[in-house]
Amino acid sequence: MTLIEPRVKHGDASDGTTPSGPLGREIVRTDGPLKVQGAATYALEHQLEGLLHCVIVQSTVGAGRIVAVDRSAAEASPGVRLVLDAGYSLMLRSQPDFFGNKPEGDDYTPFATDIHHNGEIVAAVVADTLEQAQAAAQRVRVEVEFGPVIATHDDPRAGHGNPVPLDKDWGDPDGALAEAPVVLKATYETPREYNVPIEPHGLIAHWEADDRLTIYEPSQWVDGMANHYATWFGLPFENVRVVSPFVGGGFGSKGQALPHSAVAAIAARMLRRPVKLAVSRPQTFTAYGGRPATRQRLKLGATEEGQLLAIDHDGSNETAANAAFIETLGIVTSMMYAVPNFRSRQRIVPVNTVTPGAFRAPGKNPSAFALECAMDELAVELGLDPVELRLRNEPDVDPETGKPWSSRRLREAYAAGADAFGWTQRNPVPRSMREGRQLIGWGMACGTHPVYSSPGEAMVRILADGSVEVLSSAIDMGTGTYTILAQTAADALGVPVEQVTTKLGDSRLPRAPVAGGSQLANLMTAAVHTTALAAREELIALGLTDPNSPLRDRANTLIIADGRIAPPSGEGISIAELMAAIGRDVLEVTRDTLPRKERSSAERLKFFTTLGGMERGTSIPKSRHSFCTHFVEVRVDEDFGTIRVSRVVSALDAGRLYNPKLADSQFKGGIVMGIGMALLEEGITDPRNGRILSANLADYRIPTNADIPHIETISVGIPDYDATLLGGKAVGELAIVGVAPAIANAVFHATGKRIRRLPITLESLM
């Protein structure tokens, strides 16, 4: 028997069949009861003896130089233990970037001397109580020499930006566009968007010894974060422990230790007391960056029949004045449709903003917004149904790499989605459908997300009572990791899922890479599956060979099912009985899915603490992506221009679903966020000083329940074992991609107005 059985079908809920084992079942999330009872302990709820409170002081100007910080009034404030600024703080070593590269310069301080953006940290106060720290923070006097502020890329002084090396070229796009019978040119824009997880950022930093640091901090990547702290403080990786069993959402923003994280750790070190730092909701808008504003110019050339001849894409995104962040805007453009001539260019435009960050399908989401709106415009231009136009350009192989798809079930998605939506009833003429004073629009668009894969590691422990523990440093931010890993282990071991508990979110546990890029479910089910099979092998071997095993010599093969270990025919005994007979308290197995064995421990670590292990497809023979298509109905009030999404049907190809119920929540969550992106979310910045004016959840608008209609999701995926070990593809971020263009296209159909800048608000339709 081999350890890995990648092509064994363990059930596939996505094609409607009942799974044979626990994997693929619609099991409710195992962490749900804890959360509703308030028994799930989040980072800032950890109780520590002697805890002090830290409050950060942020700059109130967008650019300039700090002339002086007067700490004296704050230091004299009641309860104050420490006031920190650039002139009075520990110096740290520079943090490596996501790929493990060390930046230039040896030192790092989280406190600014030159101001690059409004809301940059300039000082911090530590006091006995939160209120004392807040009051003292008010008394820190900062003297600033103002500098000129370029608030957004709309400011002409921001200029054209700097090219980044993401050029993609094939064929002769200029020649093809010059000769194309139909050419469409348009520019599309998306605003700054913020992650706004319901659990704001913050941490408790606790130095258990001079060289041992424990951090309680919500994290999408405890191993990566532990590495950040270790580097900052020059500690061995093992001496830092990051604990994050529950995360109240991250949406890309909790993958790194951030400047405020360094502040708390420094304060705790200097005071030798545990320090809690809670970033307030308004502060979260500048303590880290969300999606930068983007601008994309697209030129599409096509035949009269709708065959794409060329795509010319030019994208740019805002970045910080002092750091580069690239929102990969050409990422969907280059792989969605068969096109013989292609060019994509990208620039980044420095402005006075916090460094933008990963946010809800980075790159993919705005990329699809531009491309999918442009395809709709082209369909209108050609008088073709937008689904038909897409079908005519459906590529047989990945147009960028020439590789075959591991699976691409977009045709099935179009058919299933259109059918469930009733798309054939659509009158293509804009403003032709209405109900009373509501103009009705039907629109559609596609989305896609790459399947990334990194190695993972897991431990499986079989305990004396027959119960099973799965341990990994992977995290669950509400996505369902706890549940599907228990299902995976139960499935591979042959025990009931109720018998399995999962422990996650602690860097002392076996390693896991970042929960980002929608990769975690696939890579961790693979790691747990591999480990659980090894544990099963070991248990069976013990059953066959241990001198005290009642099954010894009774059979030359054993099966484990339903928690019992038995010969192919015959009763057998429970796992607990076997464990008792052979006198074992625990059977513990750790395995990983690193590509090659025998790597040095430094190399192993790099796989889990940098993005170095994230296979981006170059050496993989197949092109691996998830796909989806969204059909939406909007109602636009003809007087007010208010837009309500009244129906959404999405058909998604995300391969095999390990738990369709949880996958469905991920899909629906993505669609909800897509509605927010299309109609509501916008970081509004004052052009005069680069200060965000909507730094709270009343003014930074995300959808409420009332904004969300019935959403129907249809899974058209089938297990894709060329994509991942257990046949799943990317789920988490897939469904948001394509929602905003589907809505924009529906708004055009309703009103005849093409809005190319998000969000589409009522005044843009008046």
């Binding site: 009051a135 007087d639 005069r688 004016l693 009332a706 904004d707 005044e763």
Partner: protein, 327 residues
Amino acid sequence: MMNFDYSRATSLEEAATLARHPGAMLLAGGTTLLDLAKCEVARPERVIDLTRLPGLNTITVGESGATIGALATMSRVADDHGIQRRYPAIAESLLLAASAQLRNMATIGGNLLQRTRCPYFRDPAGYPACNKRDPGTGCSAIGGITRDHAVLGTSDHCIAVYPGDLAVALSALGATIQTNLRAIEIEAFFLMPGATPERETVLERGEIITAIAVPATPLAANSTYLKVRDRQSYEFAAASAAVGLELDSDGVTIRDIRVALGGIATKPWRAIAVEDALRGRRLDEGTVREASRTAVDGAKSHGGNAYKIELAPCVVARAILKAGGIQ
């Protein structure tokens, strides 16, 4: 947040006496006061809690009118059957305001006195200039982002919108604000910013709202509140209108009408010109739309809020048509 003293008033007289101290602020549901204290706009030295005062939360709906105690919560008033039947605009304006959680906490008295959502007003650290917050410092909004600012009733000193919904309905229905000292017509209660935007109402120091009285009229019983905004819930109005409409027995002639607007002016805005243009006229869509244009007479845009001048007449027209049963 700064330290402050806290006292729980046991009688109206005691509350009034305590409230006369400079630096004292009244606390009802706290949804405005605590919010503003957190953004360092409100810096009370002493907070006087009104919530235990007896007898101030009753809702009485009678033949001649309704009296709503100042401490009645928004949700209780919105759920009151008498209010729903005889003053639908009041119930609707409350249900469309804030969120369920806020409505459960917030009181009617506090609601009238909610402060503007002008982002510059709410950010003293970033914007020291705000005449409303710190008289004489200037106005940061003028020349800034003005999407949510007023187009009516503004001055060179302040262009902040009065954000509330309830007061708009009360203006249309001719309510009276009762205090421990006097009764004030709602029209006279709110002040325009002029050169003193820090003064938003005629209330004196130590004056406490005790109740709101609304006369029972046929047009109150046939009233409605229409609120337009990008988000379907939990958002202030881009523009809103409260309309009370009474038709003649012929069912088409407008006997009486009262109209007020929200979300576009520095105070709840009576649209008397619209009322005058429609009284005695036939209720039909053309007439209503024509008359509704006068709702924004004298409006002034500051750039980002220009859309409100276009939007408001549509909202007025649709509210009137809705009250007249024309959907």
